[in-house]
């Protein structure tokens, strides 16, 4: 669990707590959402990241997470809908180690997650040292028709 020693005041513990603090320090509060609804949604996905994604390494758990996310993202560009937030950033970091290992077929199965993930990794300054994950644009199996 990360701890941040701030210059003024006591130290902060916890990934999402520290991230939210740094976002405010950097005057980028829009990353935490602008309406009450958006703010609550951002925090909900941050909580999802630390409770459902972290510490889970069993394939089944991750499949459940990807399945739910895939169906959630069906009609959304970002986790809050139309605005890029801290929730996208932290979920991207949390999922990276799993997405890297997905097979081409699996990436296709979680199409909406793949679209969202590919989009986030190309946002400027987000990917950092992480490897870029390759997604194939044309579908392998065109069994829809």
């Amino acid at each position: 669990i990360p701890v941040l020693q701030t210059n003024n005041g006591p130290s902060l513990t916890g990934l999402t707590t520290i991230a939210a603090h740094l976002v405010k320090q950097a005057n980028k509060e829009y990353l935490l959402g602008s309406t009450p609804e958006e703010k609550a949604v951002v925090q909900q996905w941050l909580e999802y990241r630390v409770t459902r994604v972290d510490g889970r390494s069993s394939k089944d758990d991750i499949c459940a997470v990807l399945k739910d996310l895939n169906s959630y993202l069906e009609d959304k560009v970002y986790l809050t809908g139309y605005n890029f937030t801290l929730a996208d950033i932290l979920l991207y970091y949390g999922l990276h180690r799993f997405i890297v290992d997905l097979t081409v077929q699996e990436k296709e199965k979680y199409l909406n997650v793949s679209r969202w993930f590919c989009h986030i990794q190309h946002c400027p300054g987000i990917r950092q040292h992480l490897s870029s994950v390759v997604f194939i644009k044309n579908r392998l199996y065109t069994n829809s028709q």
Binding site: T13, H21, E47
Partner: protein
Amino acid sequence: MRLFVSEGAPGSLPVLAAAGRAQGRAELLVSTVGPEECVVPFLTRPRVPVLQLDSGNYLFSTSAICRYFFLLSGWEQDDLTNQWLEWEATELQPALSTALYYLVVQGKKGEDVLGPVRRALMHIDHSLSRRSSPFLAGETESLADIVLWGALYPLLQDPSYLPEELGALHSWFQTLSSQEPCQRAAETVLKQQGVLALRPYLQKQPQPCSLEGRVVSNEPEEEELATLSEEEIAVAVAAWEKGLEGLPPLRPQQNPVLPVAGERNVLITSALPYVNNVPHLGNIIGCVLSADVFARYSRLRQWNTLYLCGTDEYGTATETKALEEGLAPQEICDKYHAVHADIYRWFNISFDFFGRTTTPQQTKITQDIFQRLLARGFVLQDTVEQLRCEQCARFLADRFVEGVCPFCGYEEARGDQCDKCGKLINAIELKKPQCKVCRSCPVVRSSQHLFLDLPKLGTRVEEWLERTLPGSDWTPNARFITRSWLRDGLKPRCITRDLKWGTPVPLEGFEDKVFYVWFDATIGYLSITANYTDQWEKWWKNPEQVSLYQFMAKDNVPFHGIVFPSSALGAEDNYTLVSHLIATEYLNYEDGKFSKSRGVGVFGDMAQDTGIPADIWRFYLLYIRPEGQDSAFSWTDMLFKNNSELLNNLGNFINRAGMFVSKFFGGFVPEMVLTSDDQRLLTHVALELQHYHQLLEKVRIRDALRSILTISRHGNQYIQVNEPWKRIKGGEADRQRAGTVTGLAVNIAALLSVMLQPYMPTVSAAIQAQLQLPPPACRALPTGFLCTLPAGHQIGTVSPLFQKLENDQIESLKQRFSGGQAKASPKTAVGLTAAGPQQVQALMEDVAKQGDTVRELKAQKADKNQIAAEVAKLLDLKKQLALAEGRPLETPKGKKKK
């Protein structure tokens, strides 16, 4: 917006409280759904509560819903609140769902429930007491308070799960619970039913994942190397350089050991094992072995230490056993006392004295305490109705009567409970009662009995506990059990019995009665001391100078924490009372319980026949000591721990260190020139040693063993990195480096041999002989890490310490103790000599069942051959029973004809 809730879902509490607190519920529609209904379209697993927003989006996290209500009311997010909510989601919830699952779904109680959440509760309490405000994140109650209160309420509304010592948590919880929105949420969700209102919901939920894969918490946590300060390194190096000079003065060995004014006088007792039962591994780790580790540690610290134990010999069970074996009760006790003494000798238990309760001293001291209680008005008289067998001329204990169940008519109901309908029976209500020994019909007689007036002594006990508990090392389960006894109110307890085998009651009209064992068994500690030295009162009437540590399993806590202290306080004779009550949880065997009758599990006398040395048993039992929660003995785990921790880690390190001295330096410890890396290692070892001391001072025996293994892991790494076997072949500088590494390593091995002494005394002595460690260094463990093997010291012959346990060997032992053997050869000598009351009990039940089968077949007029076969089985069972009870074979046959 619409809120979906479900009956008994705990998440509804904070959500309803937040809704009430932060905004009117006017625009909030509430719908109740079933616990398995999927409200959120994109989630696979059902979740409640869920808030559907007007935008169509869903909030499915309890905290996020609460946060949304607060945001709507104009509240601004802050770091501290975020931190609390993240902690709640990642730390509190997993612990809490485990606790609630135990409490509500599995019906567990007490420490089983409190254990998993204790750390989280302490965290809240500490944070609250450090802040000046009574709330978690602000001057008034806010989001963090509501979310945490809602999560904790189902558990903490029962005061027994709100530890008193957490004062800040206590008042925070009370403050919130009294607020109107919280009160209303609590009423809506729990409906005055307390935590049970959650059952319909929690039963339908999957087991919390923190419960899975946590059967036995045998795994050590990964250690991280702490960063060291310059000061710490300087202190450690200074201690090291003192060498043997740094040892504390050795305490001369005295006989008898008596308290000395101005010194730390430690009196250690282990619960007295009942003489008739051969102790199993759980009994051994629960008291004698745990107390032994502490006694040995205490002697290493040069504290003035006396460790006592003995067999508890009086009572009905002994009397019956004597009848069965055709011996006098005293002869039975002599026989089994020797069995016990042998087992503990084999396990290397370092009693200063191992006594017994059937001695004149026991009579003298028990009667004295009784007379003093009587004179001070703490003894009541009352009449009790009991069954008496005229033929045997004695009152019958419940388990020695059989008859027809007054509820279901079952013919072989026992005096305390019916095996068929399971109802509890008061023995005098049995129809057609029979004495189990002679089969004649007992009569109801009233009998005068004496009672200890515990309610009258309650205040004194409470005052004493209030003085004693704070700052003491009572284990949490001991505190909990004692408190719940006091909370439920004390009742008078009968202290006499109509028996012959016991301490006589010195009062007119009670000549043919004796004291009930639980009244005088705890006085056994005093009488055993009196048999050890005539100056026993220096230990037992000296509360100012003596610290009394009592070790036991948790079932014994009430007698040591409440009943004996009541007698002792009532006697007003300045008795030494328990300062630290150390109670363990239970040890299970593989997946179940130890069972003598089914031949399941390893019992003390069998451990020696396995070919596994006593020290390996000690190590493994201490490694899995049920500290804080139940644990389980597992053969596979024992093999694994022996081969990984002992052989590959500890044994490997000590052997390598010694071998390098022998092979590369002709058996003489080389010169050591410490570099800063060496100094850092030395400091890490010194800090781990300090940690070991802190843990053992608090009697955290299992945890302190981990420190030993950690040091040897550091040592192995150190050798691995520095490769002395390569450097010794190099130039001058490399050879010097090889010498320093070898010298430091062998000194760590010497330190480990002393730290290991309380746990594995034989292995410790073997290491010390191999290293020729100077005798004063073997007998004392200072607080710092000293150089006890200086350059030039000659060591002895080094040889391997541990043996690998092989899979086949362990598999065959597992088979042997799994109960199969008892069935295969029930008539072997084991049956005769070691049949405990439980085995007899189990056989009796088998006979009863088989009897039913035969009767049923006869009633149905079944095939004659089939009946004959079942009758043959019945006869065989009865034969086994007779053997187990030590009766001649004719008796059951003759009786059968009736």
